[in-house]
Assembly symmetry: C2
Homo-oligomer: 321 residues x 2
């Protein structure tokens, strides 16, 4: 187990927070702790999409989401002295459970700051994995200041939900390595975007393997900060967000923004109705129960905006994460 060489928030490689080598290292580091998730496909959905779609089902991942990849890479990269005092994070969702589980696997304490409007099932998951819940107000400021207070009181190390190079290079990049091992002929990948951790890792892995693979972001209309940021050429933070995809309300960070700016080919914005339709299709046709944040990739693949984009004509085999 290597030790983290910094606070996890410095850039490396070609100025980005991760590269193909750090992603391959992450894959080796986390292999004992994560599932290799299956790829599903459906002839019926392909007929509707007019493309071959390959669904990388991270909903079957341990702790219910890809977040365990990043959390276990971050936590197992700590040396024993760093790890001893435990870890802290703030999250309203799947990252919270992932950090709790990875800390449990490492045998160290996990302090999880949760905003008071978090879904009950997400809090239950943290409890199930033995994480210690600390409540905060719903604002990002309160989440961050509460986590900072816990850090100061306990000496625990912060595992940032997305703006952390160990989280990016692993939790995110390893999904893409696996996907391209399972279906090497994929030419386009659609990835939900929130804080940008997942898509940064995927883009760095995909372009590291084959620069001609296109990486598209799928973003809810009510939280389209990434689309606005790409258009403006700088990070835009929204005064408020409003979408059913509760996992996609975060904004880009300073580590994820450069990757999104340079390596994400386009952002496809879809409205909540399309997300709900995609959830239904996942349930009825794929037989998979996905949350809105997970169904948005299919919604984007079926959207008019994708059909009108320049990538449409160049895509035939599309991976959906």
């Amino acid at each position: 187990m290597g030790s983290r060489d910094d606070d996890g928030q410095n850039a490396e490689g070609q100025g980005y927070a991760a590269d193909i080598n750090s992603i391959r290292e992450a894959q080796a580091r986390i292999a004992p702790y994560v599932h290799k998730t299956p790829i599903l496909s459906s002839t019926s959905i392909n007929a509707i999409a007019g493309k071959q779609l390959f669904f990388k089902c991270e909903c079957f991942q341990k702790a219910g989401a890809f977040k365990i990849r990043g959390a276990s890479n971050s936590i197992f990269a700590l040396d024993d002295i760093q790890a001893a005092k435990g870890v802290v994070t703030h999250s309203s969702g799947n990252h919270a459970a992932a950090v709790a589980l990875a800390a449990k696997l490492r045998g160290i304490p996990a302090y999880i700051v949760i905003p008071e409007n978090a879904p009950a099932c997400k809090v239950e998951n943290v409890n199930r994995y033995g994480g210690q819940v600390i409540w905060s107000d719903v604002t990002m400021e309160s989440r961050e200041s509460t986590a900072k207070k816990v850090q100061e009181e306990t000496g625990a190390i912060l595992i940032h939900p997305f703006n952390d190079k160990y989280t990016i290079s692993s939790g995110q990049g390893t999904v893409c390595l696996e996907l391209l091992e399972q279906v090497p002929e994929i030419d386009t990948i659609i990835v939900p975007i929130s804080g940008g951790g997942l898509i940064s890792g995927v883009a760095l892995a995909a372009k590291g393997i084959n620069p001609s693979i296109r990486v598209l972001a799928a973003e809810p209309k009510g939280a389209d900060d990434s689309a606005q940021s790409k258009a403006a050429g700088r990070i835009i933070k929204l005064p408020a967000t409003n979408t059913i995809a509760d996992g996609l309300r975060a904004f880009l960070g300073d580590l994820t923004w450069p990757v999104v700016r340079d390596l994400v080919d386009d952002v496809i914005v879809v409205d909540d109705n399309a997300i709900v339709d995609a959830m239904k299709m996942c349930y009825e046709t794929l037989k998979v129960a996905v949350e809105p944040s997970g169904a948005i990739g299919l919604a984007a693949a079926l959207s008019d905006e994708f059909k009108e984009s320049s990538v449409w004509h160049e895509s035939s085999k599309i991976g959906i994460i």
Copy 2:
């Protein structure tokens, strides 16, 4: 493509309808037409069960169920002259869609006799795959006589839903070959039982590979003809059935009964409440949408009846189909 050497309803091998060789042949024959379905597992569910459970997710199979295995083996085993006039079957459920799809893949007509109380979604699946729907009354007699009439009028070959050696050896046995390739250390397999086609194939494959593997049937209390048949030593048919597991209401046939009698180690009977609880657990924890007939294996694994059976202490790694 070999031709079927009889009407599909003679026994072979050691007096059973299939053997490990015919199952391996089936695997090769159907490989181009079926998905290799993934195995899912959950630490949380394992903790509840007190055993390691491996879920073989045939709900992700083409046409939504394992039935495409048997249907495609039966239909692709026909020679061109046999196949030309098409195929006929009677089914209220997944076998209907499977025959329609396999016939479409072979490029021949499919006549599907459907009892008038069949779920609308199952009828829709038949239509989607281009099957020609012919309605019958709900009784098995009416289903069979209507199918016979279609046979006489069209010259189509009957693809029986379960009492057919090609259906047994393939649709069923190949699931087990795949499962044991994916998780070779499995010592026990739990299989839903209805007409006995699935479990016959699984038992013949499992015991053919390793006679010490235990095969258990999971049966709904409201249609426990197999448990009664095993107890009585002869096929028992019930005057009526009453269970939420609509796919498990058929009775054993003369080809499946000898296998169930000799090779199925025990029948675990569960009530509908336990089936519903298992469906919820599949949805919430595994994230998989399964029908009652698919969730019954988990219900059996968690049942008191299983804990009290002699197999319980000898089982540690359990495959659930």
